[in-house]
Symmetry: C2
Subunit: 135 residues, 2 copies
DNA sequence: GCATTGTTGAGAATGATTGTCATGCCGTCC
DNA sequence: GGACGGCATGACAATCATTCTCAACAATGC
């Protein structure tokens, strides 16, 4: 059974108020900054357990580093701003249908899929490309 | 300008006859097995240059390791067998439309997307789940 | 041939993630 | 409240893919 320890509570609370994807290293540092010292190994273990339990989502960035985020339960995808990290959860059925259709067409079974969108949100676009461009 | 060296030729030739995604480490070993000694750093550099040039595709597996594969030029996605590595290139428009629709709906620009399917191909399914099941 | 300059490779360095294991603390049962 | 069994923790070592360094090399152009 999962014991409720100071460390797990602290990490769960932190994730609850963290809107963007963060790495285990970042979470460890954020906890330290908040005066909650939690061992790095514990952060890794806990965040992975939460991922397996479906309580957090995992996202791999370009260099392979894993980022974690508290998310709604259930299968969904993400739209992430590559500048500020703002994240939108996507629950549409379009990708699900595409995946299962492709799986059938090619005689594959047990097909999982990943689908993530990375772009620049309106606010960051205004800041980067010049605030005057937008009406 | 890109010079044509023994190492680059060997790696390009190897990729040309390798149908599945392979890691840099694997490619390095395969070259060694074939009697073509190529430094590991060179394999990494070359395979990354090829990826930037669009000559090979990169796929990140669950633990973050990068796999490379000679692919048709142009944007596409993949359906990969998690048992044998068999890979099918997917060129459909369904995902592209989904991605651009979502981007518009949420006011994001410069949106890239990744979408990969991983399952078990017919042959592996027959071998694993019992060969008698299929008619 | 020869100079120029991009390329190579052995080994060190980096950095995220995982393993180790003695100690600690949660939940439970008196 | 207090003892106990066992999962949880954390400082540290270990792993391992990837990147860096830099002297020695080798395409390419003349
Ligand atoms: Zn999510
Ligand atoms: Zn989906
Ligand atoms: Zn491809
Ligand atoms: Zn696409």
């Amino acid at each position: 059974m999962q014991r409720m320890t100071r460390q797990r509570t602290a990490l769960a609370d932190l994730l609850e108020v963290t809107p963007d994807f963060r790495s285990a290293q970042q979470l460890h540092q954020l906890l330290k900054d908040a005066g909650q010292n939690v061992g790095l190994a514990t952060v890794y273990r806990t965040v992975q357990a939460m991922a397996e339990a479906g309580d957090v989502d995992v996202l791999r960035i370009e260099d392979g580093e894993a980022l974690y985020r508290r998310c709604a339960r259930g299968h969904h995808h993400h739209l992430v701003c590559r500048e500020c990290g703002k994240t939108v959860e996507l629950a549409g059925e379009a990708v699900e249908r595409w995946a299962s259709r492709i799986a059938q067409e090619h005689d594959f079974v047990d097909v999982d899929h990943t689908a993530e969108l990375v772009g620049i949100c309106r606010d960051c676009a205004a800041r980067i490309y010049g605030g005057g461009a937008r009406a």
